[in-house]
């Protein structure tokens, strides 16, 4: 039985490590490479922690099975009568403390860039592209009319869309995030962005899609029975295409259905 259990306690951690090692190859890993510069840095922080943690995991599991192996083969000998070791305690307090503190300090920059408004890229901060308003169970988008600046208050000229947020690619963009009802969370897995939409608050969020393309937008905070179906997308377009798309949207919303006219308000 002894060998059975020793094997058991070593095979399970090995299986766990193997599982993680093959995961990226099996497509059981991040949904894609990080699609934003900040996302890349988040990934590299993740990987740094992953290395430290994997090392610790393997180390402690081996130590555990090693001491089990040694101490389960004593036959007549008595156990070692020891109440511990001061030196060891000091070592295994200071070393992890140093590592943990290092990890904490090393994260600060990325966090500050992501969340501290005064550190947002200037161009993004000056001209928010849209307001994203979550509601049960969809995302409502409000853009300023091309050439204007987004106001906190709704403007008669504003343009609206649902479940599709169009942004320019390859430059930092900022949105205002809010909710009409309960709490939701604006989650872009591929861009590594997540921010809760809190009732009563308007929260500025910035991100940058490096490449033009479509990115998933889902809700990450329980908001009711339909939480799971709040899927939408962020479409990043090259600068000119973005402007064209905005013009088109403006056109579409001011079109009252008559062929000639073009001066009516939006609906």
């Amino acid at each position: 039985m002894r060998w059975f259990w020793l094997t058991f306690f070593i095979v399970c951690p090995i299986a766990a490590v193997v599982f993680c090692v093959i995961a990226p190859g099996m497509d059981w890993w991040f949904p894609s490479e990080a699609g934003s510069p900040l996302g890349e840095r988040i990934d590299s922080l993740f990987n740094l922690i992953l290395y430290i943690v994997t090392g610790t995991f393997i180390g402690t599991q081996i130590a555990l099975v090693y001491v089990l192996w040694k101490s389960s083969k004593k036959d007549d000998e008595r156990a070692w009568f020891s109440h511990g070791s001061h030196n060891l305690e000091v070592i295994w307090t200071i070393v992890p403390a140093g590592i943990l503190l290092f990890i904490a300090l090393y994260q600060m920059d990325v966090w500050a860039e992501y969340r501290v408004v005064s550190k947002f890229p200037k161009e993004a901060r000056k001209a928010p592209v849209a307001e994203v308003m979550a509601r049960q169970f969809e995302w409502r988008i409000r853009y300023p009319e091309p050439g204007r600046i987004l106001q906190i208050q709704q403007q008669p000229t504003d343009l609206y869309a649902v479940n599709e947020l169009i942004v320019p690619a390859a430059k930092p963009v900022m949105i205002y995030l809010k909710t009409q009802d309960v709490q939701h969370s604006f989650f872009l897995p591929e861009l590594r962005v997540k921010q809760d939409a809190v009732p009563g608050q308007i929260i500025p969020v910035w991100f940058e899609a490096t490449e033009p393309g479509e990115y998933v937008l889902v809700c990450a905070e329980l908001c009711g029975w339909g939480h799971y179906k709040m899927g939408a997308r962020v479409v990043a377009l090259a600068e000119e295409q973005f402007e064209a798309a905005m013009e088109e949207l403006a056109e579409e919303q001011s079109d009252d259905g008559f062929a000639d006219a073009g001066d009516s308000d939006d609906e």
């Binding site: 996302g39 001061h86 503190l101 897995p189 997540k194 009732p199 799971y228």
Partner: protein, 604 residues
Amino acid sequence: MSVAHSVSHDAHGDAHGHGHEQSFISKYVFSTDHKVIGIQFLVTTLLMLMVGGALALGVRWQLAFPWESMPLVGRLLFSGEGGQISPEFYTMLFTMHATVMIFLVIIPILAGAFGNFLIPLMIGADDMAFPVLNMLSYWFMWPAIFCFFASFFSAGNGAAAGWTSYPVLSALPQAAPASGMAQNWWLVGVTLVGVSSMMGSVNYMTTIINMRAPGMTLFRMPLTIWAMFITAILQAFALPVLTAAGFMLVADRLLGTCFFIPAGLVVNNADPTVGGGQPLLWQHLFWFYSHPAVYIMLLPAMGMVSDMLANAARKPLFGYKPMVYSMAAIAGLGFIVWGHHMFTSGMNPALGMTFMTSTMMIALPSAIKTFNWIGTIWGGKIEFNTVTLNSVAFVSMFVVGGLSGIFMAAVPVDIYIHDTYFIVAHFHYVLFGATLFGLFGAIFFWYPKMFGRKMNEGLGKAHFFFTFLGANGTFFPMHLLGVAGMPRRYADPYLHPYLEHFLPMNQFMTYSAILMGCAQFLLLFNFAYSMFYGEKVGRNPWKANGLEWTAPSPPGHGNFDVLPVCYRGPYEYSSPLVEEDFLLQTEYLSPPDKAEPVKEPEHA
């Protein structure tokens, strides 16, 4: 209620024999004896464990076979929906699963069952300081259970705002129309559980401070007692905050106050709210309780595992004082880390940095404890019985949970993994992996003291084997789902193309969960079977040192035949002073050994 009555007296069918003549009712039902109360808690919580497990299987079913009707039990449970799980019902399932597991299983089984049973026995007291309060603490569980069940079965679909019940979803009835009354029942239930825990806490603190046997100094207390003591303090300081927050939320729901509701929300086409409140306030209050609460759900298990490992290794606990101090540090730091649950909540970003640093620091005492457990086994003389296996599993799985905590403590990384399955993996490793395995070990270890018989080893090992495999098969892949960005609390994640290919993995996890669920019947069967057919044992079947092992098994009313006197710490295993490899705390040696043997280690 009647079910629990009958079960709980079955459970101590043979715990009698000693003591004064008492009527059946006052002896087994409204008993003030801490042992009976402890066993009542144990049996009740084990039943609740099965209820919570069944709810979890419902969740797992939906994730593996979305929208398919459940075979056999489906029609029975939710006939209205043709055996299918609707999204409303799914939301209710995971809400109630967490609620039952946290409030009706883990917290009461640690403090209520083991705290009650062990504290007086381990410190050499004849009962708790306030026996009637103690009885009430058990009986207040029942109204709470009633409330949760009422919530579960009330019209609509039960409370469905998650166990965290964030407003505005939980504050405005129209936000979750199906959970109208249910959410109110839920809040009252949580409050009542709080009342029950608070009565326990006050009692434990007083008992541990005042009723220790002669010679039982603070630093001769077993770690189990230290853990219970620290847990009681945590409860007493953190719980009032939750209770207050709960009342405020009830007031928002029923009295029209707006503590948590800002103005101008248009929810479900109702009129805009008048508001003035702040939903983040709830999150702060809730986590100010619930972060300490996660340690309430762990520390007692840590204490018991420390005792069991030293006993299994026939060796003094490695670093007794560092173990005590690190537990105290966890408790202290536990009060200043709550914000790590709110990194993406929009609170001031400076708080993100502070809470990250304090959270990283709280991983430190956890690391110290892990190293000391490994140190305890080091150089020991161990045998692989059920107690050892479960205790080792505790350490092994706690390591995983602690390490995944570091990812989440790192704010930028948490931006991505917050509210994904990574979190779910984390807390199942600490709560199932650590606490529950610790508890299984503790059940096997102290069962002989409770009932005078041992539990069956073969069944115990089989239970361990399948549970360990099932738990890892269920929870380990959750880390990967989290990395892949699968949000938690989704009734149908496969609606989103980037998650479609995870269906097979989720099916594997569900099969593992079913295996694990079935394995628990082995435990229940063993528990009941051994009560009548288990091997009979004497006072000290494990050759352990604690005071509880000098009392008869099961101890009679008043516990000890003579008042125990304590001469040394609880971990003098394999002491060179005596022939045997254990040395009872009560054994007087002449000439007396040093009160607190502090020997320099031979090597290090």
